[in-house]
Symmetry: C2
Subunit: 102 residues, 2 copies
DNA sequence: TTAAAATATTGACTTATTTTAATACTATGA
DNA sequence: TCATAGTATTAAAATAAGTCAATATTTTAA
């Protein structure tokens, strides 16, 4: 298990920031949490859980898919999404515990 | 150790997203990493390490301070900053390992 | 009290992100 | 082939975030 020894190089910091930026949205975080519970689900089911318009749900999922955070697989008319990067869930888990002073 | 059981409530998701948004910037991530190494440092030293203008460094630090991610303490003419929320470092650490398929 | 160092704040500007609505695409079954 | 369900894409408008330069504030020391 590689832990972040030393400071990440500038390009690495940019990539990490980009990943965090994608996670830094309530609905996208919600999607990550949902996908963790159900393993995989079609867009319309996820959109219903979020109570968000179809286009919005699709856009969020596509953003995360392009970054490799989630994966998409067509099953007939539906496209089922699933988690593809365990870091997404790890981030959600470690940031949703209360902070506290160090 | 409280782990994120169940999906966070909407307000919680918003708070978590806000925290992640603050971390989702290369220079702010760099500051978190630096503060982890040195424990505390004045603004001008951090700005020099980042090679960023004084105002920019101060602004980044202030953003994070208002969110409770870092703490500030005046020592004479200087203001020394330090980490105040261990989640910041945890996020940096777990997101800077390579992603991988689940 | 004046000057200088260190930090913070402000406002204008530029850029990026989010939202919305409309429309296009793809697969299925009649 | 046609209609329909499920997704994706696009463009425009609204909102938010980042950058920069100038200036204000705070503290110390002369």
């Amino acid at each position: 298990m590689r832990t972040c020894a030393g400071l990440p190089a500038p390009e690495a910091l940019a990539r990490i920031a980009e990943t965090l930026r994608l996670l830094a949205h309530p609905q996208r975080l919600h999607l990550i949490g949902l996908l963790n519970r159900v393993a995989a689900a079609p867009v319309h089911a996820l959109g219903a859980a979020l109570d968000a318009p179809q286009a919005v749900t699709s856009q969020h999922l596509n953003l995360m898919r392009r970054a490799g955070l989630v994966a998409a697989e067509r099953r007939g008319k539906e496209v089922w999404y699933s988690l593809a990067d365990r870091r997404a869930l790890k981030v959600l888990k470690c940031v949703c515990n209360q902070g506290g002073t160090r």
